[in-house]
């Protein structure tokens, strides 16, 4: 009986010391722990736009006494089309090889693969603290990223409180397909800035590829339209390796990102845990999307008369406050979180996320999820620009920088697999809505949907096991 009590006490103490730090209790056992694999296959589909298949896994090898190494490989396959930034009009538009009928949103087709890997090493520093050091890298056809991160967690207040600090840095490189980094706020169809000339209205506007339009040595016709010098249309035809279609080195730009975080986790009572984080991030370098443009419209009729490449500031300061509570009901568990995000681009956002872990017994569970997200527009967001008007310092028509709201609903069903495994199926539905008919729409623009809403569904299969 005494032995039993001691064993119980030891388990409880281990659970107590690990719960806050996020270490599974078994990690403290003396025997070597088996390899833990958590994997998932995701299919993501947007209505009429992008499809993604993503396979990922967390492979964790405990090394004893709370030390562990985790490897996270990820492979994405991305196909489909994304908005160019140009708005729909009452006439057909074409962008390279992609033609958009009247009344439809101009899209640009692309295909890419992403290969990413993350490594992390967690190690207790003493009885009350642990460190995690990590590194990650990802490779895409036109985007590479390499980063490092580290965090420290310190328990105090009888292990009821954990103070965490984290720091991460990454260096990203953008090499646009087609080999050219477009000059910002440059009118397509000419080799000069839009500020210098007013385009001739066309009954059927024609995009030049944003990459061909700014090539310095492109062939320019008497009418001013660029007709050569780069890839033709879709980004799938972009150059590979380090050379573009025309044999010249692919231009690249870099971006540096530094993120810091300080967080406090508190045991409120036997059934409630709460977390509060403050995060600060600084991005600098090339933050513009090289594939996005804005429509130039006639100031009276609203007709699209041309296109201009977007340009964003080269720094961005991001901050957020994140609060989460985890509440244990008699059997079920609720995760509720709220995030307030703001940046110096003028974006403000609120996010509320709720997960309800509904215990079905025998390690079966259902988990419904609901998430609400809303954001204000970046200061330099414009659905379009008026032709001939003075250009702003920065401009983007990227729908992700617009004022918008998003709802996500999800459901997960999980069941045990053997003694330590789990198999799960999960589906989510996301819908974004924005201002389709802004007050500053001009003429024919009032008949068009100026915010391309988004509907996306995901289906995910998960498999966890120990080896």
């Amino acid at each position: 009986m005494q032995l039993e009590s001691r064993a119980y006490l030891r388990t409880a103490l281990a659970a107590a010391s690990c719960g806050l730090l996020g270490i599974a209790p078994h990690a403290m056992a003396d025997a070597p722990e088996p390899l833990q694999v958590d994997s998932a296959l995701l299919y993501y589909k947007e209505q009429d736009r992008v499809n993604v298949v993503e396979a990922t896994a967390n492979i964790k090898q405990p090394l004893g006494e709370g030390e562990a190494v985790t490897v996270t490989p990820t492979v994405d396959s991305i196909t489909g089309a994304s908005p160019t930034g140009a708005t729909s009009t009452d006439k057909a538009q074409s962008f390279g090889t992609d033609t958009t009928p009247a009344g439809k949103l101009p899209l640009k087709h692309f295909m890419d693969h992403r290969y990413a890997i993350g490594l992390s090493w967690e190690q207790p520093l003493d009885r009350l603290s642990k460190s995690v050091l990590g590194a990650d890298a990802s490779v895409e056809r036109d985007y590479n990223s390499i980063g490092v991160n580290g965090s420290l967690a310190q328990d105090f207040n009888n292990r009821l409180t954990t103070l965490s600090v984290g720091l991460a840095g990454s260096l990203d490189t953008i090499q646009p397909s087609g080999g050219i980094v477009p000059q910002g706020l440059t009118q397509l169809g000419t080799s000069s800035s839009a500020a210098a000339s007013t385009p001739t209205p066309s009954s059927s506007p024609v995009f030049e590829d944003s990459l061909t339009a700014v090539i310095p040595h492109a062939i320019t016709t008497a009418s001013g339209l660029v007709i050569g010098g780069g890839s033709s249309g879709s980004t799938t035809s972009g150059g590979s390796g380090t050379t573009g279609d025309i044999g010249t080195p692919r231009q690249s730009r870099s971006k540096q990102v530094i993120d810091g975080m300080v967080g406090l986790t508190q045991v409120i009572n036997r059934r409630t845990l709460m977390q509060l984080n403050y995060s600060l991030g600084i991005s600098s370098g090339y933050l513009t999307d090289p594939y996005k443009v804005l429509s130039l419209v006639d100031g009276t009729t609203g007709d699209t008369v041309g296109y201009i490449t977007e340009l964003r500031p080269d720094t961005r300061l991001r901050q957020s406050v994140y609060w989460q509570t985890v509440l244990h009901l008699p059997e079920d568990v609720i995760h509720l979180s709220y995030r307030y995000f703001w940046d110096d681009w003028g974006t403000r956002s609120h996010t509320v996320d709720l997960h309800y872990h509904f215990d079905l017994g025998h390690d079966f569970y259902l988990e419904p999820q609901a998430r609400y997200y809303t954001q204000s527009a970046a200061d330099f967001y414009h659905h379009s620009l008026v032709s001939g008007a003075p250009l702003p310092s920065y401009a983007s028509a990227d729908y992700r920088l617009a004022e918008m709201s998003s709802y996500t609903y999800g459901l997960k069903l999980a069941m045990p697999l053997g003694k330590d495994g789990e198999i799960s199926a999960r589906a989510t539905y996301m819908q974004q809505t924005g201002n389709s008919h802004p007050a500053d729409a001009i003429g024919v623009q009032r008949t068009q949907d100026l915010y391309p809403g988004l509907k996306a569904t995901t289906v995910q299969l998960g498999l966890s096991f120990k080896l």
Binding site: A15, A16, N58, I174, H328, T428, M430
Partner: protein
């Protein structure tokens, strides 16, 4: 400094008024479903999607890899 005031007040509220939970009463807190991020793979996939579709990102932690999707 104003931006730090709100987190400081929230942190004070967070720590104050907490019940003492003895180590042997922390069995529920140690359950996997009570972890702050009980399903890291699901969380990672969700964060990747939201990062590629929204202006805001982050908040839960640092690191995680770059992506040309935004």
């Amino acid at each position: 400094m104003r931006i730090l005031t709100v987190p400081a007040i929230l942190a004070a509220l967070l720590v104050s008024g907490c019940a003492e939970v003895k180590p042997w009463d922390r069995d529920l807190l140690a359950e996997k479903k009570m972890q702050l991020v009980p399903a890291p793979v699901d969380n990672g996939l969700d964060e990747h999607i939201f990062y590629s579709k929204e202006a805001a990102s982050g908040g839960q932690g640092v690191g995680g890899g770059g992506c040309g999707c935004n």
